[in-house]
Amino acid sequence: MTIALPLLLASVMAVAPRAEVSSRLLSDGTELVVGTERGASWGSLRYVFRVGGGADPDEQAGLAHLLEHLVFHGSYGQPGEAFFRSVQSAGARVNAHTSADATVYELDAPSQAFPALAEAFLRIITNPALGLADLHHERGVVATEAYYRNTNSLWRMLDQRLFSKQASGEDLGGTPLSRERISAASLMSFYAGHYVPPNSTLIVVGDMTGAAAEALYERSSALPPLVQPDVEAVLKTGHHVPLVPLDDKVRADIVASFVGYHLPQGDPRLCAAVAQVLRWRLHDELVLKGGMEMHTNARCVRMRGELFLIGVAASFVFESGMVQDGMARAFAGLARQRMTAAETALVERRERVTRPRGEQLAQVLAELASTPRPLRTQTDLSANQPVKLNVASIKAAAEKWFVRERLVQLHVSPFEG
């Protein structure tokens, strides 16, 4: 007992670990990003392939998403069902998401079980038995998902309004007809062309060093180590131009407003700083002064490679006119009013204490790694670093960026559209 006491105390007195994030390019071209959190009780893996619905072949919309589903059917040596059982037994979770730009595979597991599950997951992703997968039934699963997801994902709605002229990415889930056109051969061809090391980033966050993560990848990956000469040509996707200014309304069963700006030349670090301040101003304007019960946020996001600063307000009540006015005031205020010292302190404090870790950190890194870019370039991790607020530069950026030609407005409610 006397020996156990200090150990118990240590666990009480310690604070949760913060990650040290590093990235490197492995010899086969894969980017490895590791967030080492000493003593973390949970491990997270994100395997990002920078290809998504935006690269679906003509008339086969939904292919990238269907492929993501079929990968979970397992590899030749490991049936998907057996893998799921081991995940469930360990109390872990797996999932995957397909956006226009990227497909991201996710694993979150208790530290003890993480290495073995991560290894099995990497084997499945890098060597899926696509020829044996049950394509017919998975089309039904995807159809159900598309039905529920397309009416509920706010960011997907915004993506589809901003890039609606990009035919191939118009509907990431596809239609019944487009999914029927997808064959096993086209899936395998898509996989072989896009699931290649230089087009991927493996992210590991948890109690694992960079060297251990690299060894894990070397043991498990079955992706072809050499890039074929024509891969770069295959991976060149068309340049997507957003439809701005955008002022649109969509009917859906939620009430939400997006207001933001396209920043074609914007500095991501400065954008992150402006977003910090905007988060506070939206909260202040709508929740504190407006007295409205709602969720507000502001983010710098990349959609199809393009940078946007977007404010969002989602509500359970129908006060859309007041919401839009309040959001407009918050944006305009950034250009008109300098931040006070008290505001600066408040925003900096919040940003400092809410810096992501664990699963959240893995998610943030995956978003950064999903940005389309030339092969063999590393993820810009600087957007994940703390930003020192500079009052003058934030005001100057707001004056320069918030112009009518780049405005993005989308209002979602049961009474719109």
């Binding site: 009780s41 469930q88 360990a90 998975e138 069963d253 408040l346 404090r349």
Partner: protein, 415 residues
């Protein structure tokens, strides 16, 4: 200095072993789940809800909003402090219980816990506090009534008072007198009627402050039961098939068996329905609403596949009554324990759950894990045969069709 430190060490270690310790009548109940996860969470669970509103629909919501908004700087100060701390605060009023939830970074959020407890239990509530809270209370009703189980409670419960529950509206809210709010607060919002759940990195002084709360009585109500079997159609913007199976949970063994069976049921539904290509992500969850515990099955189905899916679901429910191979049950046991560990490691997910675990007195996570290890294929089969039987089922079809019919009726009634 050394003596203080040693004393704190002993106190800290004792607190570690004091998980889910229960206090005497009149005292607050405190449940602590510590985890080194960088987060702090507090859920103040009050045994009062819309059931207790009586002739003043909305009075529970108004009371809680008044209390939270009272005190130095009022509601704006509390919200600003919460924002600066990187935390989130919400008040949810349920059928028979309500929760004030706070969560955020462990570095800053604990500093808000005691001020919130102070506001709830020690505020010198005034008429002005009530008046300032009226508009805010009104704007929050929409959130409370969205709970599916609340809707079910209004339809399928054998207690007429529960079926008659309703939200406040602008005129009824205006009619609620400040004195009535003060009486409501005095009667129901008291430590003796409260469980405080603390999770994540919990400073000892916060736990000590919670444990020091005393006074008032626990609400005693007649037990309400779901009427089974029954079938309902609920209007909504989505198509969902929902099944509820009432369960009785009185001990760690009951809870462990229910959790493992629920995990196995979800695995089976996923295997069978996804294998047939008719569902996306079937869900089976154990929920406890204070007045009743359920296993809830929720299926997102395309309208065109409902007919194909129904016999498959019936087969899965029936087959659950036969013993599964040991490894399948072990996987479900692992999932139940893993889910528990995940909930503990992530303060947020524990607080967002329905707080099932606090409904079982004297329960600690260790006791539950031990009980989970004792679950056998036979005990799951026996439990499932009774619980998932057709005569123990409430089936709810949540459908757009009913929503359209209701809209049509509304339009006709106005013509």
């Amino acid at each position: 200095m050394v003596r203080v430190r040693a004393g704190w060490m002993v106190a800290a270690c004792l607190l570690l072993w004091a998980n889910a310790a229960w206090a005497a009548a009149g005292d607050v109940r405190v449940v602590v789940d510590r985890a080194l996860n960088g987060e702090f969470g507090m859920a103040v669970v009050l045994e009062v809800g819309r059931y207790d509103d009586g002739d003043n629909p909305g009075i529970t919501r108004l009371t809680l909003e008044s209390l939270v908004g009272a005190g130095a700087g009022g509601y704006p100060r509390l919200l600003s402090d919460t924002y600066a701390a990187g935390g989130e605060l919400e008040v949810v009023v349920g059928a028979q219980s309500s929760v004030v939830r706070l969560h955020g970074p462990a570095e800053t959020t604990p500093g808000l816990a005691v001020p919130i407890l102070d506001r709830l239990f020690r505020a010198d509530l005034r008429a002005g506090d009530v008046d300032r809270a009226r508009e805010r209370a009104l704007s929050r009703f929409g959130r409370d009534s969205r709970t599916l189980l609340d809707l079910v409670a209004s339809l399928a419960v054998d207690d007429p008072r529960m079926r008659a529950m309703r939200d406040g509206e602008e005129d009824t809210m205006d009619a609620i007198e400040a004195e009535a709010v003060m009486r409501h607060a005095q009667k129901y919002v008291c430590p003796g009627n409260t469980t405080v759940v603390l999770v994540g990195e919990v400073p000892p002084q916060i736990e000590a402050a919670a444990r020091g709360l005393r006074g008032g009585k626990r609400t005693v109500r007649p037990s309400a039961r779901l009427v089974t079997p029954s079938t309902f159609e609920l209007p909504h913007h989505m198509e969902l098939q929902v099944y509820l199976f009432p369960v009785r949970i009185r001990s760690a063994a009951d809870l462990a068996l229910a959790e493992v069976s629920t995990a196995l049921l979800e695995q089976e539904l996923t295997r069978v329905l996804r294998g047939a290509g008719v569902a996306y992500s079937p869900v089976a969850r154990l929920l406890h609403q204070g007045w009743q515990a359920f296993i809830m099955v929720q299926l997102a189905l395309l309208p065109a596949t409902i007919e194909k899916a129904e016999p498959l679901v019936a087969r899965v429910l029936k087959d659950m009554g036969k013993p599964f191979p040991g490894p399948r049950v072990e996987a479900a046991m692992g999932e139940a324990m893993g889910e528990r560990m995940h909930a503990t490691l992530s303060a947020r997910s524990l607080l967002e759950r329905d707080l099932t675990h606090i409904r079982v007195p004297g329960l600690a996570v260790d006791a539950l894990d031990n009980a989970t290890r004792r679950v056998t294929p036979e005990s799951v089969a026996s439990f499932a045969a009774q619980t998932l039987a057709p005569e123990n089922t409430v089936a709810i079809h949540v459908t757009r069709a009913a929503a359209w019919r209701r809209l049509e009726q509304l339009v006709r009634s106005r013509q």
